[in-house]
Every structure is written in C-alpha cells, then in structure tokens.
Amino acid sequence: MTCSAASTDTDSMMQMSVNREFEGPKFPPSSPRTLAELKQGESGTIDRLDLPEDVARRLMELGFLPGHVVVPARSAPGGEPRVYRVDGSEVALRRETAARVILRQPSKGVAKTLKP
C-alpha cells in the first residue's frame, strides 16, 4: 500500500485507503449528488467544485480535488459547519459550500455507502 488518499484519479487507490478505516461497501438506494447530501460516515468522490475560482483554489489546497474521496464526520450543533475527512486531513465547511462540491455518480462507478 502506498500513499493513502492519493491524488491520482485511480479510484481503486482511493477505495483502498478508505477501506482501511471502514468495512463493507454497499450501494445506497439513491446516490447523493453533492457533498452536503452525504450522511455522516458515507463516502463520495469529488467530481468538480462549482465555486468561484479563489474559493475553489483554497478548497483544492485543503485536499478537495477531483478524484479525492470525502467522508463527512462530526458537525457543530445544528448540523453545520461539518468536518470532512479528505486527503489525510479534516476540514470544516458550511453546508452552503459543501452543496457546491459535486460528487461523481455511481454510473461512473465510484460513490458508495460505507458502514461506519
């Protein structure tokens, strides 16, 4: 096993790093379209960032890059901002920002629900 949460678009590598923490992937009834729709402990793969350039750049520096797997973790009381695990670190975002992070759809063979 090499670099966890690597930056390449090879999804198999992403899943490997995630599967070390969570077990048993299974498909959800309908797949979440944005990061904000993901439930705590689920995981999704980033497709693109629908945000102004400076915000998108900052998010990419924090690890929110296309192809990276994101797992929502705990949140502040009231459900936001929420902490997201991405690329080896934890970053807190408000819902309005998470809603602009578009996830890849399962037809592309990525988004999966993982049991915590």
């Binding site: 520096e61 705990r74 807190a92 975002l93």
Partner: protein, 640 residues
Amino acid sequence: MSDCHSCGNCAVAAPPPKLSKATRSHVVAIIGPPNSGKSTLFNRLTGLRQKVANFPGVTVEQRIGRARTTSDRDIVLIDLPGVYSLNPRSEDERVTHDVLKGEMKDAPKPDAVLLILDSTNLGRHLVLAAPILSLKLPTLVILNMADDLAHRGGNVDTAELASQLGAPVALISATKGDGIQKVFQFIVGTAGGTTSLAAPKVELPILQDIPRCRQWAHQVGTGAAYQAPAPPLWTRRLDAVFLHPVAGPLIFLAVVAGVFQTIFSGAKPLMDGLQALIEHGSKWVGNIFPEGIFRSLLVDGVGHGVGSVVVFLPQILLLFLFIGILEDSGYLARAALIADRTMAKFGLQGKSFIPLLSAYACAVPAIMATRTIESKRDRLATILIAPLMTCSARLPVYTLIIAAFIHERPLLGPLLGTQAGALLGLYALGFLAAIVTARLLKSSILKSERTPFMLEMPPYRMPTLRSLGLRLLDRSKVFLRRAGTVILAVTLVLWVLLHLPLHDGKPPEIEHSFAGMIGHSVEPAIKPLGFNWKIGIGLISSLAAREVIVGTLGTIYGVEDTGDNSVGLRQRLQSELTPGGAVALLIFFAFAMQCMSTIAVVRRETGGWKWPALQFAYMTFLAYLGALITNQVMSSGLII
C-alpha cells in the same frame, strides 16, 4: 507591499539594503503549512534568543530569533506564517510570499529555507515543496512529527525522498527534539556556503495547477515509499466528546466560564503578592530618599502610577496561558467550528471567533490575529469590533468602581455575587456592543457575500511547557515594556502638570495646576455624564491607555495607596461620584476606545488613518451617549 528593489526572480540572495551592518548574518526562513509544527521548531532552534517584531499574535506573527549554534556567522531565523501555497490570498500568506521573494520591506531575503511538513500527512503537505523548491534557495525539507508517524505505523524513505526532491531531507520530532541535530548541521552548512541544490528527479509541476501539484506530490511520495499512518485515534475519540451535539456546546460554555472564573479568582493571590511587593518597594524608596519633590515623583508618580498597573500582570498572563493551551492543543479550531453559526448570524464567521476571544486579553494581538481571515471585509469588521471586547486593561477600572459602588450581595446563592455579576454584565455588554456593531457594519458599509468558512481541524496535541513558557515570557516583556514606557510617560507628564505652574516656588493647589485647568476646561462637556473635572483629567490621561485612569485618580486624590484594592481611593471616589455617575463611568469605559496601541495597530493593519479615526469617533460617541443616558436615567430617580 514592497517599495525596495524588485528582484523577484533572483536565484541568489542579494544583500538586503536595510541591513548594512548585518550583511554578514545568515538569514534562514522557516516555512510550512499551518499545523506543521513551525513554531515548535523555531522555539527549538532559538530558545530564548528570539524576539517578536512587535506584539505576539495568536497565530500570525513574524518572529525572529538567533540560532543556538556555534557558527562564526550570525544566523538569523525567521518564523513565517503558515501557508498552503505561495499564491497569496490572506494577509499572512502575503507576508510569507513577500519575505521569501525578498519583496518584504525591512525583511532581508532569506539565504536558506527550512521547509517543515507534517510527516503524518505527507501526501498533501508535499504540495508546498513544489513552489518552495522552485525558488532555488538552499532548502532543507523537514518531516516533522516523526514520533507520531512511527507510532501510527507510517513510514518514509528519507534518503529516497531527498533524491526525488533534489534537496536534503530530515525526519524529526520538533516537540521531542529527535533529529534536530540535522537541522542545525544544515543551517551551519549553508552559512558556510557548502550546500547546493541538486536537480529533482521528478520535474517540478506547473505551480498554478493544483491538481498537477498534488499529483506530483503523490508521485514523489510513492517514489520515496511513503506509507501514510493510520488515522489519529485519539483525535477521533476526543472529537466524539468535544463535537458531541449536546456535550460539545456545554463543554464549550464550561471552558469559557472556567477561563473567566480562574482569571478573576485564580490570579488574586498572585496579584495581592505583587501589590504587597510594590508597596514594599515604594516604602523602601520613600525611606532612602529625603522628603521632597524627587521622592514625590518616585513614590506618587512611578510607584503608584505604574505600580497600580503592573499589579495586573498575573491576571493578563493567566489569560494568555489559557489562550495558549486552547490553541496549542487544537481545541480552538473546534471552538471556532461551534461558534460559526452564532457568528454567521451577525455577519461574521467562525474564524473571527479566535481573534475576538483573544481580544478579551488585549485588542492589539487580536487585531493582528485577524490576518488569518481571507475576506477583506470580514477582516475589517473584526478589526473594528475587537476593541469593544472587554480587554484586560479595563479590569482595573471596573474592579475599582464596582468595589466602591456596588454592595456585595448574593445574586445566585453562593455562586455569584452582585459584584462579580456586575463585572460579568460589563463583559456581556462589551460583547453585545461588538456583535451588534458587526451586524451594522456587515449590513451597511462592509456588506459582502457570505464568505465561505473553511477551517482545517488539526489533530489534538499536548501543549508543551516550552512553547507555553515562551509565550508567557513574550507577553510579560510586552506588558512590562508598556508599563515602563507609555504608562510611565503619562504618569510623569501628569505629575509635572499637577505641580505647575509654581506659585512663589511652591506647587499650586491641584485645582489651579495645569492639569486642573485642563480638567476644568472639559468639565462642561462631561458634567451631564455625572463626571467632575478630576474625572475629566483621568479621562484625558486614559486616552493613552485605559488603566492609566486608576493611577491618575490616585495621584490626583493625593492618596498614598492607589492600587485597585485601596480603601482610600475607593472612599474618595464615593464622595466624588454619584451612583449614577459611577455606573456612567463604567459604561463609558465599556465603549470608549482609550488605547493608543490599538489605534496604532489599526492604522498599521488597515494602512491609513481612515478606519482608526472612524472607529475612535464611533466608540467615543457610543461611550458618551451610553454614559449620558445612564447618568440621566439614574439621577432622575427612575431606577434604583
């Protein structure tokens, strides 16, 4: 930002024009992403041989120190604010960018760079290596948190990483000191001019393309057989408690309440001790000098004026100790997360919470800490409201007036008395004024789109005694310097104004002294607030710093003991002020911007006089209006 030479692309460091006498000193910059342990490394390398350029901010401050080495050359280390990239967006990123490029005024271009990265998150942290290595300065890549990496089962081949990057690599633990020798060797080596950069095995990516950079970092990491460690279990366990939907906010409130309680009660023995020490010193000085003008200057001016302020050092240090623990442990980021929704209601964001919390200690470091806020308008709003938060300089004033005018009665059983309640009320009032002002600003002149909140949650770490100790030492120096300069100067000027003009070679009655004349001239304006001309002198002298009024009133009343616990000063105040005037004075101090240091730092941070002038006018207006209404309502007998 720079008005000196522009040599952005120079590969070799040119001797900085400003440092003509220090051309032989070797400048090494420490750079790294936030939470990579830069400051810990800096403390390790410099120890006590460091200084803060001005005031220590909570996270953003350019610190300079001398390396603890036995080199012929003077080695100067610069600790730069943490950055993710060299594309400057926030103010502290700009500082880092400008220093590294040699475009920073008054800062020499570095001769060598220490790039510090978190080895437990190398994949992402290596991204910063690309822009740093492209600067072509001698660079040591430091992989920090080696102990954590090994403990959590990660691994990296440093020799291979070095050849991949074309730069030497050291795996260290800055907290424990492991591997620090290699860093010293590198610094001394570059000072001797022996180190040169090799060509990287993996060609550097286009720096503007973040996905490419990240891919490059991955490629380099894989090449060096990097194995990421298991997730930090303790951080997850602690977050389950601190970010629990119910327990989290309760702990948050308990932490804030605990901090205040300890500051009020915990510092008391230390302050009493210091007070006794100063009184002793004053008496001793009084005994060795003969009766006369010089003794009066020393005892009344220096002893009582400055001494009554120095007494508050323990309280201020305790507050900074708490802020240090909260920040170093990683809890402050969680607190900002919890506070974000509340801050958003007032048009600000969670990141503003950190400077506002530190404004409870002092607005100056708080205003400097706003540099982490990317949005210019949010940053400005935070700067403008920070002085409304109840800073520690208000404490002496509050304590004195409350003790004189508010009778101690139980308010909430034995938990809270009326005096502590009044103090808490004043803190609440300051906070309320701050957030309402923020709302006003953010819905008018500083209106902007809601800026996104993006905050990295660092893993929890045990604060080290070394870093906490150095922080407190910094603070003590700053505080004592201020007491020894601004406060001393004001007290001395006041003392002179109280003793002039001479009548038949004798000092006049206070009422006919220059100070008295000044007080009388402002009396018509402050009479409606319930203040007489003596309070007027106090208000004018406290324009320099709030706590000066305590020393001023003490000197004016000619009471021997001017400390905040002084019975004499308290009794004199009771005869000088009506209850309405006393409460009006409290309200005045809650709102007024009487602090030259704050005005100076706002001017520097906003780059002009416009904002500090506006801020001063607004806060003085608020203070005057608040005090006027209070006094008029209370003296008309409507309440109390």
